[in-house]
Subunit: 362 residues, 3 copies
């Protein structure tokens, strides 16, 4: 008998309320951290230095939140989006507990809602995904919406066993940062990146200077390492037939990580935690060879205690044009791209709201 | 005095019965595991999750067997195949003991036989290679045949010291899996990939859906990391003159790892060990940019105990064409390509027999 | 307010005697070691095998000295060379203490001298950089000279806080190798690379056979991982406007590591430490796709004790042409390229003097 096993789901395969325990179970190790650091030059010392992390009261360098988001997105592809046409939105991304190298993580997704699109051939599926460590602590949770075709995946149900239900996945975390970081912090031993909480003013705009060209090899390695199983990112022949770009498209979670890292020397060098990501979308796709740039605007700031404050940034990523050039032309970079009736920015590849816990000047 | 030191051997340099202790001595670390996982998206949880491995009675995630095979092949290039024209066959590949991250491995090869080819300008060399850890346990053993030109390597013997003889390399292992995996196994905590031992039927064919495009950078990184010193894989100028393809050719051990990983979600998601690889060959070479696909047929299955059974699969790898398309055209994918008088499959890049220890449904 | 924060310095920003504590603070882990090993196939067993290192009296595999040099160069880009036109010279590179995986490193640079160039639009800045671990031990120190344009970086001083002064950076290390390696050594358990201290003769020339093609992806990954923030290496759009090559240029520290690793099977397989690198320069730039080759000449050798001796090699790296071909044409490979009035070797990409501590034959 000939088997062609398919994974992912079409619109009519999704049942609101169902929970899919994704099969991947992976020990996050120092090698995975190095792959992340080799593509995303992030300035936040908490994630790069064991010594800096220990000084903050953590037991080791925590795994970078964007790495955890990428793992959660990727693990869920097998059940949620391997047949999807597009990833539409990120919402409510949180990192309530630290994950450390050596931890083993799994993920599960619950279907929150399904909504057919008026054209009748597609629908939007809204899921909540949680990534947990071996102790059952949620280390990353998020919601997302994906666009899928109507129908059911042939040959799927007959072979896939019933997934065990993980009730944890229905519980939303209350804490949004490791407890050690929410109290008083020791003074920094050395802190030489420029921007502290005190330096941000609402309305400030940062046109980040540096760009990063994306290579074919590294985006495939990261996609494979994170267990993202969508052929759109790694199967050139599939893409020549089925991708909107007629070639491999860079996984959106990586685009987000590139753009946030490009902004990090200017805005996150004295940050101690990512409190969350909201209202995120990918207005356009990124291909190998594109060069990414970033801009940030300060949306809000809030006092918290004597050592830290909260900064809310709207961060956008651009393809092949530095932000400063577009700003000088008067481009409207920071309004949400989806839904704009005029002033679209075709270079925009990602937009998201990032909330950071940042040290105050001492 | 001008020295041009060459490594590897030509046909007349090989002495049947000689043992070559290869000079490379390498600690396998988490970084090497991540490089493997970043190219080969393997579904077998034993190798990916420390927690899953510990539940099976192992002390940590074992190093992936295909990584060990790649190290053994690569370490032996320096003495065996750096001057070779082609790798002809793999035989009797076994993984009798687990290797763990942090172990330091070495390899030695014994010349089993040499046979001149009738044209008189080349010969076939048959060697047995063993990879051992710091405690002298064999963690991978295999035989292979390579095709080399007649003659001797100029400037080799004068400089290379006599290798110490490692008698272990002559002893064939009896055990073919870590003892912990051969007894009763605890029930899986979660097992959500589809195929258990019970689901395989002799004669079943799997046309695996996913493909993986090979990038220039990742195949060179893996080749370098594994200490494969053949210029065919990393020296473009050498290849323009001396490679059959006039460009760099992907190391066959990597092609094998790609193809087995492409088959793994469908067939190995509930496997616990690789019992062996036999009758392997590379009918054609793979270049950067090629997209690999896989197909498997179930050759045999065997009961073993209440928790596991043995499945024997013939697995093939194809270039740039999914298996389903070739099967629909009636292609004879599973007969050995070498020696076929008709019905050759020019897309075939690798063929091998894989024996897996697989969980039964509980 | 629109901020465009720039880093690095122009000629008039440098103040002789100032010390810049570079902001990067990074835990060197097994993943970083694997990235190094995946590009640079180095034969020195001390760095590759925990077992071999422990037998020498070290507590673990030390981090490869060239990796430390790359980190020091990269960390200093943020303050020293992010606006530089060219890196002119390496001097007095030393590795006085071993650095181990798990150590957290920082770096600081002191401005030794500044000298305007006669054209009036540029100047040469001479700095000394030290890389230290969490215990304040210097694990790598070096001097270098960079060429920068006159002027000051707009928008830099206003935002960057004063760097804390690290007096350690002014102290030159006396010891140039870990103490364990300077006494008697145990006999090697196995040593099968060809060349011992006894085998080198002053005047010997090695035309190393192997070449390595540089891939776009791996050089960007290493540059990003090491925290080199110069856009010349990773920002294609910037390079089309501002790079002499009109495309991304490979970071010189990587070129040096490739060339030394290409020479290592022939000359460093029985070395136990890198005592230093001197008089280094990059006569020309390297681009992705270039294939690097190496040659070495024995400049000096010296007895040290019953187990080891010192060998001084002049090592050069060539683009796209093996050394043997150029030597057969009578090329003057080993004279310093900068300053030659005739006989220039346009293929030369790097030249440096390497001092190795090498085992004697037992």
């Amino acid at each position: 008998m000939l088997h062609t096993i398919r994974y992912g789901r079409l619109f009519d395969d999704f049942v609101p309320g169902s929970i899919y325990a994704h099969p991947w179970e992976v020990t996050v190790d120092e090698g995975m951290l190095a792959f992340f650091a080799a593509s995303f030059q992030d300035a936040m010392p908490t994630y790069a230095s064991r010594r800096a992390a220990e000084e903050l009261g953590l037991r080791d360098r925590p795994v970078h939140p964007l790495l955890l988001l990428n793992l959660g997105l990727s693990f869920s592809v097998h059940d949620v989006s391997e047949q999807a046409i597009a990833h539409l939105a990120y919402m409510d991304v949180r990192f309530p507990n630290a994950c450390y190298p050596g931890d083993t993580v799994v993920a599960a997704s619950r279907v929150i809602a399904t909504r057919p699109v008026s054209t009748g051939d597609k629908g939007v599926v809204h899921v909540r995904t949680e990534v947990s460590n071996q102790d059952g602590e949620v280390v990353c949770s998020f919601e997302r919406k994906v666009l899928v075709r109507v129908g059911k995946v042939a040959g799927r149900a007959a072979i896939v066993p019933q997934s065990p239900v993980d009730e944890r996945a229905a519980v939303s975390p209350k804490l949004r940062a490791p407890a050690a970081l929410l109290g008083d912090l020791p003074a920094p031993r050395r802190a030489v990146f420029p921007t502290f909480w005190d330096d941000f003013e609402v309305g400030d705009v940062f046109a980040h200077e540096g760009g990063r060209t994306v290579s074919e090899a590294e985006h495939m390695q990261l996609t494979t390492l994170f267990r993202n199983s969508h052929p759109m990112h790694v199967d050139e022949r599939y893409c020549q037939k089925s991708s909107f770009a007629k070639t491999r498209v860079v996984f959106g979670g990586l685009v987000l990580a590139w753009v946030l890292s490009l902004s990090s020397r200017d805005t996150a060098g004295n940050a101690v935690w990512d409190l969350g990501l909201d209202d995120g979308a990918h207005p356009s796709g990124v291909l190998a060879g594109d060069t990414l740039y970033a801009a940030s605007s300060v949306v809000a700031k809030e006092e918290r205690g004597k050592d830290t404050g909260v900064v809310v940034l709207r961060v956008i990523g651009l393809k092949n044009t530095p932000a400063r050039i577009l700003l000088e032309r008067g481009a409207d970079l920071f309004s949400p791209e989806l839904g704009k009736t005029a002033g679209r920015v075709p270079e925009k590849a990602v937009e998201i709201t990032r909330t950071l816990l940042v040290r105050r000047r001492t």
